[in-house]
Amino acid sequence: MQSSFPLFPQAASSIASEVDLLYFFILAVASFFAVLVSVAVVFFAIKFRRRHADEIGHDIHGSIALELIWSIIPFVLAMVMFFWGADLYFRIARPPADAMDVYVVGKQWMWKVQHPEGVREINELHVPLGRPVRITLGSEDVLHDFYIPAFRVKMDAVPGKLTTLWFTATKTGSYHVFCAEYCGTQHSGMIGQVIVMEPHDYEAWLAGGRSTGTAVQNGEKLFTQLACITCHKTDTSGRGPVLTGVFGSTVQLMDGRQVIVDENYLRESVMNPQAKIVLGYQPIMPTFQGTVSEENLLQLIAYIKTLKATTPESPEGGQ
């Protein structure tokens, strides 16, 4: 997969070469200044070396013009880096709308991966070439960080929150996944592989995988098993709000605030329901902290996301 002694990482995602380009730009600027100053310093030290014991330097105090020049030029260059880097960062941070969803949960010390079709894997992540993949990350215990150097992306997995990361792989092969946030004993053993496959190979791989039901199907089951359904009905007769169409909508809270429903809001609604109470309802929803694992939670969320106003009970995905 890689030469045995590489000096530069492989670039295997759509963003990787852009990151490298910025890297080379800054490297060029930095090298220029490093060489300029080092050469000047050594040159001066030699050229103006002390010739006799009580010699002193020239009577020079400074120059406003020079101070301005060497403040403004670095400032401008730093701003170029900032804007370039910020633009790139926004593209790294915002997944395209059509990205395919994969759920990853970090726990000491492994990565548990769940594909939308239900196939699960541990410390391996199979993805199709050329399709944007959006990873929703959770953590069951402490901080971790899902890092794929060949794709130049990483994101912390934060307990109590969901975070996201996305990429489009551009080269088949297998690449390292590292945990980049220190997490205890086996931190350096919390590594895995991303395996990028041709789309048809990926389909075949999925078909061959032991699917235990799609994430959405599992979420639907949990929704019944955990008795969510007793309060959240498809009509307004339940004690809790109707969840149909809730994802992406704006909810009015009791304390006057409004929130847009995203994964983190859904997560919080289940794990810490008292944090935000929907206007017009009683704070009676029990917390599922400790009952629902991080993986189950991701399935529930996957399910709730599919509850669209038009087709309330028809989950997407599956084969």
Binding site: V29, F33, I56, M81, I92, P149, R152, G290
Partner: protein
């Protein structure tokens, strides 16, 4: 020992261990600190040797994983909190701030002694934590690992850091009052040596920042010991809040480590070039700018932590702005050497070494402050290399440069020049060999705090370990000849480098009250031209 004792030197009177342990003399306290931080530098260095030896091979074969985690944690904790933060301020600063002000002592000599005892108390607790089995959270103590998962002696170590924090608060407070109130007649703000400006800026950071980290670390202790829910997400706490609080101090803390070194280098550049510093007021103000703006950039450690991307934008742009005053300083030092009269004595070697390493450290900060690039670089060896270039390349080189420059003043002894030059070269070469490969392996993607790693990273790691051996040899050489110099006669002249500054007008070593007559300052700092004119007139 020799017997040609100069009358009244602070080293001689009064005699006895108690006279040292209860001293209120800032110079003796400086030496107490120098000895204690040297002990911790050696302890931290032994841990570093352990890390580098383990990383010679891809497998984790020397230590168990838990042991490795403790080793790098203690390396970081000891080096940062018990060596680098006190290094220049508590030794050179303690010794020189009053003398450069033209004062007999710091404003509060007893508080100065108290600060050393607090340091020792904090350090002892942390060493106690080591003796009881160690700590494994990393020097950053990130929650929720530190507050709920780790079953090591976090509370004790945290308490040690908390207490040591007060020693730096007291030192900072003492410096600020001294610089405000005790300057000699004629020593206006803009006649002060830049060393004082740098210590003034550092002290501001110490007293404004340290309380925050002290409280944060206490909260972690409270959460562990008493079950407070602050950072624990299971009960509605926020683990990321810890990172905000921690970096709110710890980013400025990196300036506690570098600003004093910048002050030292400003003195050294002027002295080795026998020339007025170029752009004095720009160098002075840039210290303040760094200290103040440095408080607004902490979020650049959190670009991938789930911090809001808009907050990230603000932190990134301010980070890029704070790089400018550092650049300004570097250019001014360079320009100071232009048309100077530059000696090739050993202090020059440290100046050149500092410039080379600090330059690389600062410039690689630009890569990290650039958000899109930091996503890839964060928590890799690239960051490790960056901050070692700054803190060891800049901070420790500055410290050693200062120690070499003021050693004759502090001890009355001369060290062997040739050994000094060899050591500086060894340290420079060894340092680059150790840390430069880490930029490469970091861009390749090797995460930090890894006990074992994929095979393709091995060659770069072996290079790094080899470099560490050279670096270690350089440090040991310095230790050897400086200690040996104590057994030589006290024959340093008052002004061995022909430098300007109040400290060079008094004997080496100084007498207990520094000045025989209260000094009056009539000229700018680094006024070599004025001094030469006067010498000609007389």
């Amino acid at each position: 020992m020799n017997h040609d004792i100069k009358a009244g030197s602070y080293l001689d009177a009064p005699h006895g261990i108690a006279s040292w342990l209860l001293t209120k003399d800032h110079k003796r306290i400086a030496l107490l600190y120098l000895i204690s931080i040297t002990v911790f530098f050696i302890i931290g260095g032994i841990f570093a040797a352990g890390i580098r030896t383990e990383l010679m091979t891809p497998e984790g074969d020397l230590f168990t994983a838990d042991m490795y985690n403790k080793v790098f944690t203690l390396h970081g904790v000891v080096m940062i909190f018990f060596f680098l933060i006190p290094s220049i301020p508590a030794t050179l600063g303690n010794f020189l701030v009053p003398i450069m002000c033209g004062a007999k002592d710091l404003a509060f000599p007893r508080i100065n002694l108290l600060s050393w005892y607090l340091y020792v108390a904090g350090a002892s607790l942390t060493i106690g934590a080591v003796a009881l089995g160690g700590v494994d959270t990393g020097w950053t103590f990130y929650t929720p690992y530190s507050s709920m998962a780790s079953n090591t002696n976090v509370t004790l170590a945290a308490l040690g850091v908390f207490i040591a924090g007060f020693s730096s608060i007291l030192t900072g407070f003492n410096f600020i009052v001294t610089i405000h109130r005790m300057r000699a007649p004629g020593l206006t703000w803009f006649r002060m040596p830049l060393f004082l400006w740098a210590h003034y800026a550092t002290s501001l950071v110490m007293i404004l920042g340290t309380p925050v980290v002290a409280i944060t670390i206490l909260l972690v202790g409270a959460e562990r010991a008493l079950g407070f829910a602050i950072f624990d997400p299971r009960v509605g706490g926020d683990p990321v809040l810890f990172q905000h609080l921690f970096w709110f101090y710890s980013h400025p803390a990196v300036y506690i480590m570098i600003l004093p070194a910048m002050g030292v280098i400003s003195e050294l550049v002027a002295a080795v070039s026998r020339k007025q510093i170029f752009g004095y007021s720009f160098v002075a103000y840039s210290s303040l700018a760094i200290a103040i703006i440095g408080f607004l950039v902490w979020g650049h450690h959190m670009f991938v932590s789930s911090q809001s991307i808009y907050a990230g934008l603000v932190f990134s742009i301010i980070t890029m702005i704070v790089a400018v005053p550092s650049a300004v300083k570097t250019f001014n030092w360079t320009a100071t050497m232009y048309k100077g009269s530059i000696t090739w004595d050993s202090p020059t070697y440290w100046v050149l070494g500092f410039m080379g390493l600090f330059l690389i450290g600062g410039l690689t900060g630009l890569f990290l402050g650039t958000m899109g690039l930091d996503v890839h670089l964060h928590d890799t060896y690239f960051v490790v290399a960056h901050f070692h270039y700054i803190m060891v390349g800049g901070g420790v080189m500055g410290f050693l440069g200062g120690v070499h420059f003021w050693w004759p003043k502090m001890t009355g002894r001369i060290y062997p020049e040739t050994a000094g030059k060899i050591a500086a070269v060894l340290v420079f070469v060894g340092f680059n060999l150790t840390f430069f490969p880490q930029f490469v392996v970091g861009y390749l993607g090797m995460p930090r705090r890894y006990h074992a790693y994929p095979e393709e990273f091995q060659i770069l790691n072996v290079l790094s370990t080899g470099g560490a051996a050279v670096l270690g040899a350089g440090y040991l050489l310095i230790l050897a000849y400086l200690v040996a110099s104590f057994f030589k006669p006290r024959n340093a002249p008052a002004n061995p480098w022909g430098a300007t500054g109040l400290e060079w007008d008094i004997p080496s070593p100084p007498t207990t009250f520094n000045f025989e007559h209260d000094p009056v300052v009539t000229e700018d700092a680094y006024d070599y031209v004025g001094r030469a004119r006067k010498a000609r007139e007389n």
